[in-house]
Symmetry: D4
Subunit: 220 residues, 8 copies
């Protein structure tokens, strides 16, 4: 089995982000093989989209080595150090259904030593919820925004704060908004300048954009 998994061991050196393990389309056997290979290498790793069912089906031994969070469906293999400083990333959500995606971003950032500050449930229909946080949010170099339905929150925030705004469309909604497509097109078509967009539900990817950006001061 192990020849079917080729770990990109060099990735952290190359781009500063170790390979994460996307569990979504893996069988339990494949997952176990990957985890054992990582353990044999002594690598730590972030696992994403690990369902409670997949997690429960792993051996006791493997489960003991994972730090699993069922809301974000992520797990840490190996030790994770506490954040080295105050939060540099704000996490904003429009509604309750966006939290699982925001938490995926939070866990990815935690795995890389970054703390976050949460500003949850501040949808545009009650604009004061955003406006009263404007000054707080304007102090963050990176603001990750998770929103489903029509995704108006992306434009509102990008017009209010100077930091890098990373938009994560969320697959919450029905009818025309089903699957997150309406929120995705809102993020891409935003009238506010400089919104960085990632795939629907991709909290992990948004965190990686943040990590690449936060590292900018270290260049040259």
């Amino acid at each position: 089995m192990s020849s079917l998994f080729v770990h990109d061991t060099d990735r952290a050196r190359r781009i500063g982000l170790p390979e994460a393990i996307l569990c979504a389309s893996k069988t339990v056997d494949q997952l176990a093989a990957v985890l054992n290979a990582l353990l044999a290498e002594g690598s730590r790793a972030l696992l994403t989209r690990l369902t409670p069912e997949q997690h429960a089906a792993l051996s006791d031994d493997l489960r003991r080595r994972l730090h699993y969070d069922p809301i974000s469906r992520t797990a840490f293999l190996g030790p994770v150090a506490p954040p080295s400083g105050p939060p540099r990333v704000a996490l904003v959500t429009g509604g309750t259904g966006d939290q699982r995606v925001a938490e995926e971003a939070a866990r990815t950032l935690a795995f890389h030593g970054e703390a976050v500050e949460r500003h949850y449930d501040v949808g545009v229909a009650g604009l004061w919820r955003v406006l009263r946080r404007r000054e707080a949010l304007a102090r963050f170099p990176v603001v990750i925004v998770c929103a489903g339905m029509e995704g108006a929150l992306f434009s509102v925030l990008a017009g209010l704060v100077p930091g890098l705004v990373v938009a994560v469309p969320v697959s919450a909604g029905y009818g025309i908004a089903e699957g997150g497509r309406a929120a995705l097109s809102s993020a891409l078509a935003s009238c506010a300048p400089g919104v960085a967009v990632v795939n629907i539900d991709n909290g992990y990817g948004a965190a990686c954009v943040a990590l690449r950006a936060l590292r900018i001061a270290t260049f040259r």
Copy 2:
């Protein structure tokens, strides 16, 4: 030719809105035939989507009988009375490209005796432009909002004002927003309650929604 055009002469009695003439797919010969039939009946009419080229190709006599506006591409056949009272409809646009659609609504309302108040170019990226008008807009029973790109303006306004909000997605934008689809899905998927949506670029339809609603007090 005239047997090819069947005027719905009863429509005003039935639903309170006389039939308008959509000129978009008509040849100049067809247009002339329709206008002559209306003149023979003594009907007044609103013409929509009448291009400058179509207008210019009509006979001098017909052109003299039309009150044409090239921005909204509408024309009035027959007399139009001045509005009977102060504006009951506010017209809001997000950007300059939305004005032609908003003006189609304004002309349709004018044809039916309703004045409008314009609040143009108040896109969400500079939110203060909307917020400073909030009190003014909250006094209107109907607010028609025309916006292209991501259409965040629909949700922002519907969360701020108590009147009937009619959303007109506009085919301004490119890439994912081409043809107005992104704005349309934002309008339909809005997290703010009670947004009434019409087809892309349908300023005429938005005005008709307003006219039906403004008439509500006359029932029973």
Copy 3:
């Protein structure tokens, strides 16, 4: 948990519609937290898209405080007064599958003190079913129409009655009509003037459009 839920307590004052609780993407824990926060505030609330499974999973105490209707999947938290007058909204459906959506509108209106008159199962294939109700429907200031499949009912009704016609496309149908997209495009592209459209299956939104419109007489 409670910091994850920010109630828009000001919404009723601002737009005349208190915030409703969309239960679709909430876990049972999140739902309980929201309900407890509302109870602590002494707020009454409308819950939408509350599945029987979600409802059953709530504590006995919370369930006792809810007035749940499994067809519309709505619940009332707190007292609901009887309607203050005769029905001002007619509810029309094309087929049996549209009733759950119409009932969501009815319950939303009831929560706000408005009665409805139901005209159900009057699909266009048997046109007499609509025509014999024409006079009755023409007396209503607002007519909410719920229809799936091809949604021809929207245009037929909007051509017959003078009230505000609110179209709710319903996700009933298969093949090209799957998910309600055919009905949605029919509603938006209607040849009848002044159809106000809401998202697929959005009975709640249609009721909110009606409530905004019915309030028009109170302006100025």
Copy 4:
């Protein structure tokens, strides 16, 4: 050039419909080659989607041999006999923009010796226009309906008449109805039983469906 054109000379014997020449994607040289090949064979033919520009670019000699109609963009090569009996096909359109498509059907039927009766401009927004023709239309074995926008006319008619209803969606409309997609999905999703649908703008195809059906009595 002629080897690039392979006339299906056997088609009339096989399926009762000789091959028609679709001119849409042909260069003028290709058209001339096809026409000369048909003349050499002594075949008569129907040409469809022949633009005025293509027609004008043909040689005088070829143009003289064609009976061209610019509205339907069809031409007859060779003699066409007058219809052998009273009309068996009714042609119904919703609006003025649908006439070019209906006329393509009329010309195709004329080429095959079938007369039509036209019922034009009877859109659903003014339902009486359809209803007063109901008895007339109910006498036809085949009713071809051409409609753009939301295509509600298909369902209304199919619920009223017993003949074979052939629906031709028309690419008239804008926004969500652009290109005829809304009308196409209405035709396919109709709640009225037994609507036979052809491609958008395919008046020729609708006529061929009618011709196949009218021939049914000759089987066995």
Copy 5:
């Protein structure tokens, strides 16, 4: 409940086809109410898309009154006479997965007294399977073709037989063919003249097209 169901009792007189009961989106309670209403009227009826689960959930009494076929998911309420003559409709399928749809057509025809002749599993990849049946199929006034995947069978058959070809795209296939969309567009875009298309999986609709067409000889 019964006021929620309005039977179109006049439909058979009007268009020659009694109203069928589409069970897909009905609850068991709604189904029972409809069936009891029909029994009270003394109407016979065809039920379509009645799942085995729905059927099993009906009362014993109602189940006894239905003649149910699990493959086509149809049921007859009331007596069905044997066909009055030899088959006038040929039923052709491309693959095994198309049979359930073809059987829905067969049952609908049987309910109306028409017999069918089945030519199943004759996909285009083995063209001889179609070609050897060409003469047999050419004798039928109506040929109903059910095919999924790429739907090439529609064009092949419509080029070979003179009868009315009714194409039923089937939701068999995966990837680009998922849900029957590829087969649907093939049917509509066919290069063979005069293919009558119905919605995906709509065997019932195809049978109704056939019934309308077969009745043509009775006009005038």
Copy 6:
């Protein structure tokens, strides 16, 4: 300018196909710069999608060095040797509109020394046109099929011949077939095994597939 063009000079050595110059989105200045760079290198090259307008706008000197074919919109820069043997590729088209795409394939093959045999205008509606060529086509190791509309020809041919069938969907058609999408989905969803598909209108790509496949005997 030249630093804006980086010729992949190594491509022929690497994959056996020199880089072709896609002219579609290049300005005349960019084209001239590319051609001069190639001339300076002494490279020969194939140019694709070179419109007559672009070609005419080049300098006389550059035009003299190109062997241009306006039907396929291709040009050769530098000498092209005659084919080294009999045709190994058959080119099949469904209709006249497919020829421009087929000729792009023919020219690409000619540039690489491969002759073709043309079998044009053999659409499925007249199946005998294909069937009488079956034996001829079965002798070819590669059969390139160009078809628009519903693309049934792909499946018919792939079920009849043993060679590699390369399907090129063509953007001929209207309505549901507009832009070649119907033909593309037919090619991909074909019920015949082993159809190799390329992008819509990509005659060049089909020829490259053929060239890669014809070279197979030279491996090992």
Copy 7:
């Protein structure tokens, strides 16, 4: 039942590939009937998309005659000879989720006597994994590439190796990549020349393209 299954017994002679049995939309009864028919004919066969549940539901006797592989969901009926020579096809995958599709290709090739060499889990994000295999892969006449998500691997490989590259988009991914559509469009739009594309998840089809191509040397 058996008349409902028409085996294309002549296919192997005609195109060199015997008919495979696609089990996806077959009931267990239909499957058993097909298998018994094949056994009665003495035919060997390849079964694809046979789920573990379908397999388990077959009779013991039938199950004993099948060589089933649950990963690829394929089964062999009848004997399969070992490959006659060294591998001529390389199988490349981007991630773990692509293996089931690659294995369907491997099994199809094995059924026809061709061995494969696997190069799994070499996604583009860690490009060295592909580059270090470049020389090995460049020696293969055919390279089948299975990739989901954005499918960048198709272009990278087709730019590196001279063999026939067959791209199989895989339905792994979420959001915009759901169902494999993003990978499919990448494969078709590839900037590398000569990528042969098959339907999403169609490992069987890719193997058939390979088999047709590998046979090229035997022509003439």
Copy 8:
């Protein structure tokens, strides 16, 4: 006119980016009004999507005050200082057709005082063109990548360099790639972690993402 244009004069203070003027949907009169308003305010501004035709139609006086670049279709109103330091942004393109979009990014950055380093025409089909620049590109904090067709370049680069990768899908391509949709979905579905995506052809937006990110070191 001027009341129709509401300049967001506060934007630079708020988010660090002054409002840019999107000229795409403005008439020449509207453009002149906007420019005159800006001149009256003494504001400098960046104009985007200003076509040569629009530019030529402005008055000589206004044209003299603009620094126009026809390739990027941008103009500067007012003085632009030279860049204050060495380039911090690398601009990468896949093909010649992507340059106009990359130049829009370059001009936007220049307007804000940032220099760029261009790495043009390094498409994935000739991978060495990217690989030989890997070390150079790895030194940049921000890498903007513009690519059309299948957009494989986004993933390749994001797997090789540690900086922030901003992907701009370009509307170059045909068939399935038309309008840039294939490149857009590749960017969003990338298997490489942390790709920040903007709308199709939105070079301006990509530059704004870069400007927000480059400013990160100035927070706190």
